[in-house]
């Protein structure tokens, strides 16, 4: 039951992010939408490695007496490594996007995407 909730929330976050990207006109809201969407993906990814009542995926005799018991109970360490990488990448994207927003505001005096369109003249 609780496991299912993770995935539902993750999908809701992704959907909210995509909605934001499609229908919002403010650049900052677009950046927020992007961040919310990737957070949804991260939640999805990290939930996949989790198991209820799991143990730390470091093999030692204190954590689990035998290898088979360890394999049966430990959480999957791979998604944790992946999600860490992905979070760092998305911080880069958000930082770059925000700095571009600052420059856009200096040039155009607005963050409305319908008014930032000199290229199409």
């Amino acid at each position: 039951m609780i496991m299912g909730l993770n995935y539902i929330v993750a999908m809701l976050l992704i959907a909210a992010g995509i909605y934001c990207l499609l229908f919002k006109r403010n650049l900052l809201k677009l950046v927020i939408g992007l961040a919310v969407m990737t957070d949804g993906i991260h939640l999805f990814l990290i939930s996949m490695g989790y198991r209820l009542g799991g143990i730390v995926p470091i093999f030692s005799s204190e954590v689990a007496p035998s290898l088979s018991e360890f394999a049966a109970r430990a959480v999957d360490p791979l998604p944790q490594a992946l999600v860490l990488t992905s979070i760092v990448i998305n911080i880069c994207i958000t930082a770059l996007a925000l700095s571009l927003c600052i420059y856009a505001y200096r040039h155009y005096g607005t963050l409305d995407t319908t008014k930032i369109r000199r290229l199409k003249e």
Binding site: L21, L34, T38, C92, I93, A97, L100, Y103, R118, L119
Partner: protein
């Protein structure tokens, strides 16, 4: 092959990229001119040589599997290099070197050049990683390295237009890479592996009939993500803006080498056994992009914007070719990959010519230009070679690959595809003749009387590109020596899988 060459071609540009600001400080303190440029070009030449040594080994029928940290394939991250990756790596290194030489003089009037070369080398490193890696998540990481650096490069000059284009590219591009990430996550959830060879082997056990429906969603997300990066028509809106507003050296880099990356995955994808008709999707997307791209290009009044729409149209040819290849036309894959090789040379050349004109006249609008053929004879000549090559005129390279794609249309039993491709080719010629006459022929405006020929490093890159176009056109065997093994490798997934999983 030099030991560790596969990882060196990725790590060397990556490392130099982050040392570059330091080199910039040294160059400014001791007033050493062109230190940054020379080091960047030097690194690219070393990468090209390393890629060459890898290529020799791969063309002898090997699949090089390089284990990072010594962890064996299904568990550790591996670099797996077959003939397809080799073609891409050689193209990235070769064209990257020429673009680097070009930008040494094209960017000489800008400030903040240390950061420019940092970003350029990061893009190269990311592209190399994408084509050499054998791991899905690793692919995503390199894709982001390449994408983030190219967002920053597009808005490098920070004027109103390039910021606008950069934001557009960033939002659409990040949506695409997020889709790729979600797709990778779903694949891992269902299949439980990230190694591409292992993934292929495990997907094959479904036998193409009993595929879980999550995989369909995963495939759809992946195709959407890759198509955004390739800029096929429904997802193409970022490309004309980005290519128009970016410094021209960047447009050449993104049009030439970076086109490689998306097409590489388009070529790999249909042969991963998802059990879905990817070929039909590719053919229809390719056809739409071809037609829409060329029609939009005919309407443009801006030099670089016109070239950008032709990028979309030409990528349509490649995707079409590769799509036909999966529908029974064995020539299709060859044609698509060959067209990629040719497209990257002549489109980078055309952008360089547009950049040379922009550099000397400060204008890229057709209405403000004219009669420059007398002032810039070499630029005009190389542009003409590129224009004829892209239109598929016989003694040049564009003809060879387009002809193979035409034949593939017949081979797949769909001659109407060939008819459309020929018409698009004619429209391309029309559009380029208009561009050539309005820039290099006709009345020369008063203020352009004193225009001079482009600087020598720019001319050097342009002449080398033009020579490649002519050489492959006259001796298609040169191209086939690279394309033949690559097309074979794209289809022969079982050899790839057995090499990666069997080799220790």
């Amino acid at each position: 092959m030099i030991p560790h060459a596969p990882i060196l071609v990725i790590v060397l540009p990556l490392f130099t990229a982050f040392v570059m600001p330091l080199i910039g400080i040294i160059a400014e303190r001791y007033h050493i001119k062109y230190l940054r440029e020379l080091i960047a070009i030097g690194v690219m030449i070393v990468v090209l040589i390393l890629a060459g040594t890898i290529a020799q080994e791969v063309w002898n029928g090997e699949v090089i599997v390089y284990e990072l940290g010594g962890w064996s394939p299904p568990w550790g991250i591996v670099l797996a290099i077959d003939a397809l990756s080799t073609q891409m790596a050689l193209m990235i290194a070769g064209l990257g070197t020429l673009v680097m030489i070009y930008s040494a003089s094209y960017m000489s009037r800008d400030s903040g050049l240390s950061y420019f070369y940092t970003l350029m080398l990061l893009v190269i490193s990311g592209m190399m990683g994408i084509v050499l890696t054998g791991d899905f998540f690793n692919f995503y990481v390199f894709l982001e390295i390449m994408s983030i650096s190219s967002y920053a490069l597009v808005s490098f000059r920070r004027d109103a237009l390039s910021i606008e284009a950069g934001i557009k590219y960033l939002i659409i591009g990040s949506l695409g890479t997020s889709f790729v990430l979600l797709s990778v996550v779903m694949l891992y959830g269902v299949v439980g592996t990230l190694n591409i060879a292992d993934l292929g082997a495990k997907l094959a056990t479904y036998g193409g009939t009993n595929v879980p429906s999550v995989l369909v969603l995963s495939l759809a997300l992946f195709v959407t993500g890759v198509m955004i990066k390739v800029a096929m028509v429904p997802f193409h809106t970022w490309l004309p803006d980005a290519f128009t507003a970016a410094p021209t050296a960047i447009s050449a880099l993104l049009a030439g080498p970076a086109a490689v990356v998306g097409i590489y995955w388009v070529a790999r994808l249909p042969y991963l056994p998802f059990g879905m008709p990817v070929g039909l999707i590719l053919v229809s997307l390719g056809l739409i992009s071809m037609v829409v791209g060329v029609l939009m290009a005919l309407m443009q009044r801006d030099f670089k914007r016109m070239l950008a729409y032709h990028v979309i149209s030409q990528k349509g040819y490649m995707v079409l070719g590769i799509g036909l290849g999966t529908l029974g036309a064995t020539l299709g894959t060859q044609g698509g990959l060959f067209h990629l090789l040719n497209h990257s040379t002549y489109k980078a050349l055309l952008f360089m010519c547009a950049g040379a004109v922009l550099y000397q006249t400060k204008s890229q609008k057709f209405d403000e230009l004219g009669g420059l053929g007398k002032n810039m004879p070499i630029t005009a000549l190389t542009f003409l070679i590129g224009a004829l090559a892209i239109s598929g005129i016989p003694p040049l390279n564009g003809f060879v690959s387009k002809y193979i794609i035409y034949l593939a249309g017949f081979q797949a039993g769909m001659p109407w595809i060939t008819a459309i491709a020929v018409v698009v080719s004619g429209l391309t010629l029309a559009s380029f003749m208009k561009a050539f006459s309005s820039v290099f022929l006709g009345q020369r405006p008063q203020h352009l009387q004193g225009t001079r020929e482009a600087p020598k490093p720019m001319l050097f890159s342009m002449i080398v590109m033009a020579l490649i176009c002519v050489a492959i056109g006259l001796l298609p065997a040169l191209g086939f020596n690279i394309i033949g093994p690559a097309a074979e490798a794209a289809k022969n997934t079982s050899s790839y899988i057995s090499h990666v999983l069997g080799g220790t």
